[in-house]
């Protein structure tokens, strides 16, 4: 597609800064009404809001609210229930994390956006997109700036709506449906950039991340997940064609450090997915954590959790940002619990590895390389007669957001330990697409609380069920909210993992929970299937 030709902005820094300040000033005077979500407010989110996919730029999904806490959690009551009725038979599971701005909640399912009253769930507006196709597997939600809302559609569009009435402002094509791309990511707003990713691994297509103008949707810059011949990283591919068709989708929202002006992104699997013999090498920058300049898209550094992956273990899990101590020294850190079963702590200023550890037991590595990256064992690559591998294709973690509490120093990730047999189905010299798959068997789910200083699991709470793929929220109330395999929305003691409270939602919890405070009352909201559930600790 033509956007792939776009070069990063190489204007001189001073000139760029002047332009940015001018743009922000124009935005502030012409766009942002009183109380609207400005770039400044995005840097300091208030507790009466949940203004971005992760609540803030860090990806921690930690709230300082504590009116709901480990001592009073059993007084939490149901505030309201809202069912997302689309009028179609397409997937209406709410995988989006709702945003809350000025008392209004905004959320999505594929092709649909709702604005509802966060206090009562009264519908304010509902926008429905007429789709031309694309994988309707899920949508992660919206991004908001000023009076504008942004979301992606399965048929490859970025759409902007007016926040007040849900009327369409503009639409821009961001990928090519004919190549089986689709779009599902919640846009991330950074300054005057709308950061959008793309999805799709049916065909051998390249992944990329884009920044687009909030005013018009025009392309500002594009970062490509695979290099061109001669560029850094190209030495990890056998030839230009493999690079051009190398995958690396960008299907989970990135995090952002405003001081470093770096976006942090996890990238998806290389292509072909399972049959990897046509792409020998590490296949950068697939299955990588990358740091990109937010204004240019230029790569600052990379770290690769799964070099030369052949198991569909996208490393897209949220790169969570926090400041901590390592060997007594303050450090700017980034942590990821990756789909491949390994936990990484990096120095987010330069990508240097600090910790690599297993957070569930795996069997696919032969050790770590000098950069702290797991070395894949050739015997555990998919085989014609099968290889018994753990984790399975679904992974030890998947897209479901984790959480980090600065109060406990623990990284919470709902996890699955699973085995499957990986097969090569297509032993052609030039496999394409998938070329194989796994056949799954046993699995068990658990919540893992990982000490970032050691990489060790401080406590593990095993679920009574096979799956641990549920979003997580931690709070200053010494609580961790998440789902369990029995359709419960659960609160655990953040320090011990003890189950404290639950509500059976009748379907698996399906998104990242959020919390906010309105009128002095703390709300906790999550989704199960096509329904949002809001719980509240009412003030008297």
């Amino acid at each position: 597609m033509s956007g792939r030709e776009c070069k990063p902005d190489r204007a001189q820094p001073l000139k760029k800064m002047k332009r940015l300040l001018l743009a922000l000033a124009l935005l502030a005077t012409t766009v942002f009404g009183q109380g609207s979500l400005t770039p400044a407010r995005l840097l300091q989110p208030s507790t009466d809001s949940w203004p971005t996919y992760n609540g803030d730029y860090s990806g921690r999904r930690f709230s300082t609210l504590s009116k709901v806490n480990a001592n009073n959690i059993n007084s939490l009551s149901l505030a309201w229930v809202f069912r997302a009725v689309t009028g179609t038979n397409l997937n209406a599971t709410i995988k989006s994390t709702p945003l809350v701005v000025n008392g209004v909640m905004y959320f999505t399912v594929p092709d649909h956006v709702w604005a509802i009253d966060a206090r009562t769930s009264r519908q304010i507006w509902h926008y429905s997109w007429q789709s031309q196709g694309g994988d309707h597997i899920g949508n992660r939600g919206v991004g908001i700036l000023g009076n504008w809302l942004f979301f992606e559609t399965p048929d490859c569009h970025l759409v902007s709506l007016d926040l007040k009435e849900g009327k369409e402002r503009w639409r821009q094509k961001i990928c090519d449906l004919n190549q089986y791309y689709f779009a599902s990511v919640a846009p991330v707003i950074v300054k005057n950039h709308v950061i959008v990713g793309v999805s799709g691994d049916d065909l051998d297509i390249p992944g990329y991340l884009q920044a687009r103008s909030p005013e018009t949707g025009e392309l500002q810059w594009q970062w490509n997940a695979s290099p061109k011949p001669g560029e850094p990283g190209s030495e990890t591919w056998p030839n230009a064609e493999a690079m051009l068709h190398g995958g690396g989708m960008t299907w989970v929202p990135s995090t952002y450090d405003p001081d470093l002006n770096l976006l942090y992104l996890g990238t998806g699997n290389p292509q072909p997915v399972i049959a990897g013999k046509g792409r020998k090498g590490d296949n950068l920058f697939t299955e990588s954590i990358v740091a990109l300049n937010a204004d240019t898209g230029k790569l600052a550094w990379h770290f690769q959790p799964s070099p030369h992956d052949t198991h569909d273990w996208d490393a897209v899990q949220t790169p969570v940002l926090f400041d901590g101590e390592v060997n007594g020294q303050p450090r700017k850190l980034l942590a990821q619990a990756s789909r491949n079963g390994w936990f990484f702590v990096l120095d987010r200023t330069n990508g240097k590895n600090i910790i690599t550890s297993e957070y569930v037991k795996t069997n696919w590595t032969s050790g770590l390389d000098s950069k702290g990256q797991p070395i894949p064992s050739p015997a555990k690559e998919p085989q014609l007669d099968g290889a018994l591998v753990s984790p399975n294709q679904g992974g030890a973690a998947n897209w479901h957001p984790p959480s980090f509490s600065p109060e406990t120093g623990l990284f919470y990730v709902n996890s699955t330990r699973a085995f499957s047999v990986y097969y090569i189905f297509d032993d052609d010299e030039k496999p394409q697409g998938w070329g194989g798959n796994d056949r799954s068997g046993f699995s068990e789910g658990m919540m893992q609380a990982i000490d970032y200083k050691t990489g060790k699991v401080r406590w593990s709470h095993k679920w009574e069920g096979a799956i641990g793929r549920f979003g997580v929220l931690s709070t200053a109330g010494n609580l961790v909210f998440t789902g369990d395999p029995a359709n419960n929305f659960v609160a655990l003691n953040a320090r011990t993992g003890e189950p404290l409270w639950h509500a059976n939602l009748g379907a698996p919890q399906s998104n990242g929970p959020i919390t906010f405070e309105l009128d002095g009352s703390q709300y906790v909201v999550t989704a199960a299937g096509d329904t949002l559930f809001s719980f509240v600790m009412l003030t008297r």
Partner: protein, 263 residues
């Protein structure tokens, strides 16, 4: 986009079969994707073998002499020949030296079906994907593991529950069922409340907060899980789960070879 496609189809006189025009939204890819007509693809194969295979390869994945047609944007955009036909009418080398423009509209539409079929071969949902030969292990080594390190013979017998197992399942199924046996016997539990007698039965449901069972009389019993409530459980598959951490791939293939020999 639909209108544009319709105009292109009308211009070229290429007709999309009835029923192909409504967007199909429940699957990946464009809603107006071309559904392969197997008979047309067979006819297209004849044309492909005669005119294209030398340069584009047996699976249309390209060679040093010709482009990969599975990854071709023109082919991906094509619907029933509406992109291929104008391309070929401009002139393109053929094996028989027949001018490509001489290919009829019907031949090109059939060729389109053949290429879409090859394209579908590569998808995650490919109908051509099959587990291949899993009988690569050693029967004798499998028997030794069965009766030795694996301790399989402590629960199973080649002349008892496993008699004829090699006839019952094909090898890929046998491999899957040996590693991950389906539950035939339920999990049983014994619940002991802080006060009151123990109750045993088959597990119905358990989470961190509640547990229920059905006792031998068929009665459903349920409890809130409290600190003084004790639960003991027996899972007939627990040993199989433990073995997953101990099997090597050689063990796995040897045991499958041994089980397959039990006919």
């Amino acid at each position: 986009m639909k209108i544009l496609l319709l105009l292109m189809v009308m211009r070229l006189g290429v007709q999309a079969p009835a029923g192909q025009r409504a967007p199909v939204l429940a699957a990946p890819g464009p809603g107006d994707k071309q559904t392969v007509d197997a008979a047309a693809a067979d006819r297209g194969k004849t044309t492909y073998l005669a005119e294209c295979i030398t340069c584009h390869g047996p699976k249309a994945r390209g060679t040093d002499m010709g482009a990969d047609l599975i990854r071709s944007l023109l082919v991906l955009r094509d619907r029933f020949g509406n992109e291929l036909l104008p391309f070929l009418r401009k002139g393109h080398p053929t094996q028989s030296k027949t001018p490509s423009a001489a290919l009829t509209q019907a031949q090109v539409a059939d060729l389109s079906h053949f290429l879409k079929q090859r394209f579908a071969d590569t998808l995650r949902s490919s109908p051509t994907y099959r587990v291949q030969d899993v009988l690569t292990g050693n029967v004798k080594a499998g028997a030794e593991y069965f009766n030795g390190a694996g301790k399989c013979n402590s629960c199973h017998s080649p002349t008892g529950d496993l008699a004829g197992i090699g006839k019952k399942y094909d090898p890929p199924t046998l491999q899957q069922r040996f590693l991950f046996p389906q539950r035939t016997k339920p999990i049983t539990i014994t619940v002991t409340p802080g006060s009151g007698p123990s109750v045993s039965g088959t597990l119905v449901r358990i989470d961190d907060f509640n547990v229920s069972l059905r006792d031998s009389s068929g009665e459903y019993r349920a409890w809130k899980r409290t600190r003084d409530l004790k639960i003991d459980r027996s899972d007939p598959l627990a040993t199989h789960v433990e073995l997953l951490d101990r099997y090597t791939d050689k063990n796995m293939h040897d045991v499958v070879a041994y089980l397959e020999s039990l006919k």
